[in-house]
């Protein structure tokens, strides 16, 4: 029983690259996907970097991507705001706020909270609280407790969202991975492709796999998932397995990922009707 895959979502850090290094085989795999006209979105929770600087970072690592193929938790927030016609009070740093320029923000009916130390002070938080208690929707880019800043851990978005939830007696809608909203909005960008035909590939079992509700234990003939324990071998040429299939080989396209940081193997093998040669 073949499972049709019409589009792909790929996590970035730990899946496509680790820091400034592209993982081996990634370039070839992506070229294969492009040649097969399989659309790919790069999905990431990274909201600290602006879209431009994220694309630059990947460029320096040797991967050229279009801005509109990168879907971040900020992109998800933007899509939610436009989908639901929200007028947000932004608690975002300037570089992130740029993604929202041009949207109506007068008489806000929504508070959008991202990683924004310059917004996390009494006056701005009070302004946000007064909107929330007056019925505005509270939307959070993510709920991280803290983040690494130089040598220390600094208070994250989640701390201030928790504060607003406490005083506003409400629950924030989180748009970052692994929320359903994130994946729903990413799939919506494929304009009509059903979620069941989209494959999500990532290194974080909680944020990427479970978040996208990809089945990890079901077995299809010729379509296997294996989740194994940690490997010591770190970065291996798993992507090279992909490169070697080439276009002349039949049956399956092996997409495999080696995950350096979490050292967790996910081996899916799928049927790609478009690539099968009889």
């Amino acid at each position: 029983m073949a499972r049709k895959i019409s589009a792909l979502m790929l996590d970035l850090s730990g899946t496509v690259h680790v820091d400034d290094c592209l993982l081996p085989g990634v370039k070839e795999a992506l070229a294969l996907l492009t040649d097969s006209s399989v659309p790919v979105q790069f999905v990431t929770n990274n909201s600290k970097d602006s879209m431009g600087s994220l694309v630059d970072k990947l460029g320096k690592a040797g991967l050229k991507v279009q801005t509109d193929s990168v879907f971040t938790s900020l992109t998800a927030a933007h899509d939610l705001v436009t989908r639901d016609q929200l007028r947000p009070l932004l608690l975002l740093e300037d570089s992130a706020a740029q993604q929202f320029s041009g949207l109506a923000m007068d008489s806000p009916n929504c508070v959008l909270v991202g990683l924004s130390p310059s917004s996390f002070h009494y006056e701005k938080l009070n302004q946000a609280f007064q909107l929330v208690v007056g019925g505005a929707r509270l939307v959070a880019v993510n709920k991280s407790r803290y983040y690494k800043r130089g040598s220390e851990l600094a208070l994250g978005t989640g701390a201030f969202v928790a504060g607003l939830e406490f005083s506003g007696d409400c629950q924030a809608e989180v748009v970052g991975k692994p929320s359903k909203t994130f994946f729903d909005l990413a799939v919506a960008r494929y304009g009509g492709v059903p979620a069941g035909e989209v494959l999500m590939v990532g290194d974080d079992v909680r944020d990427d796999v479970i978040g996208s509700s990809v089945e990890v234990t079901e077995e299809y003939p010729g379509n296997r998932w294996m989740l194994q324990g940690p490997s010591r071998q770190g970065c291996r040429g798993a992507w090279s397995g992909l490169a070697s299939t080439g276009r002349g080989m039949r049956t399956s396209l092996m997409l495999s990922l080696t995950l350096c940081s979490t050292a967790c193997w996910i081996w899916p093998s799928m049927w790609w009707p478009g690539l099968c040669r009889s």
Partner: protein, 264 residues
């Protein structure tokens, strides 16, 4: 002197929202009938202690304000969270990192603050900057047993015509980030109400608590075995008439309404 059939020998009385409405500009506005109501309680021989979660002023400053507004009360009859906190710090030999309103810093004079081994959060208002909150967070990160204390955990208070954030959301923020629960020194914490009963020299059954915060004042008092009375002044909202969690022993328009009932 009783209500609901039980005698009332003492009253724990909230200040803001019961005696007077808060204001950021001035001393506030006396709730009509409150001055006379307090005087009538004294004349009837009922003991009164004023319990407040106010953590942005010293007891002396609160007393001066109430005197200016026309109330006649003794300074020792006012119980604040910072005063209760200092007792606790000395008992447990703790050295606090203080993120509190600058006005209450003098309540902590004499408390060692070098090389802090705990964090005390109060209603710091504009001192709640990202830098200051992050510094407090770093102290908590020293060890998983570093305690976070909070002078009350109010969600908000009513000021002039709007609601303003109280200390609670900042406590919630540090609790979330550091994955630990704060010890609350103030309403609705039982310890604070017991301190009030000790000050009155009365058992819970003989005392009534009157306040405007249904969860913090009324619910907190009831959890400490004290009858809780809700006033329709201060931060009262119509939805409090049917609160999902707290059923006050009595709801009155204001403090005068309670005293009328007690002295009937």
């Amino acid at each position: 002197m009783s209500f609901n059939g039980s005698p009332v020998q003492g009253v724990l009385c909230d200040i803001t929202g019961v005696l007077a409405e808060s204001s950021s500009e001035s001393d506030g506005v006396v709730v009509p009938g409150s001055i006379e109501a307090i005087n009538r309680l004294f004349e009837a021989g009922i003991k009164v202690k004023f319990v407040t979660n106010e953590s942005a002023r010293t007891r002396a400053s609160l007393h001066a304000k109430l005197t200016r507004l026309g109330f006649t009360i003794n300074i020792e009859d006012i119980l604040t969270p910072s005063l209760a906190m200092v007792v606790l710090l000395k008992e447990q030999k703790l050295r606090p990192h203080l993120l509190v309103h600058k006005n209450v810093m003098e309540d902590f004079r004499g408390v060692e603050t070098e090389d802090p081994n705990c964090v005390v959060l109060g209603d710091a208002v504009d001192e709640f900057s990202y830098v200051n909150l992050n510094t407090a967070f770093q102290v908590l990160l020293k060890s998983s047993s570093t305690q976070l204390f909070s002078l009350g955990k109010g969600k908000f208070y009513k000021e002039d015509s709007g609601l303003s954030l109280d200390v609670g959301p900042f406590t919630a923020a540090l609790e979330f980030a550091s994955e630990r629960k704060a010890v609350i020194c103030g309403k609705p914490d039982k310890t604070f109400f017991h301190a009030g009963l000790t000050a009155l020299g009365l058992e819970a059954e003989k005392v009534v608590m009157v306040g405007d915060d249904i969860v913090s004042d009324v619910g907190g008092a009831q959890a400490a075995g004290i009858r809780g009375v809700q006033v329709r002044t201060g931060k009262f909202r119509p939805s409090d008439e049917n609160h999902p969690l707290v059923k006050p022993d009595l709801i009155v328009d204001n403090l005068k309404g309670l005293v009328d009932t007690i002295l009937k």
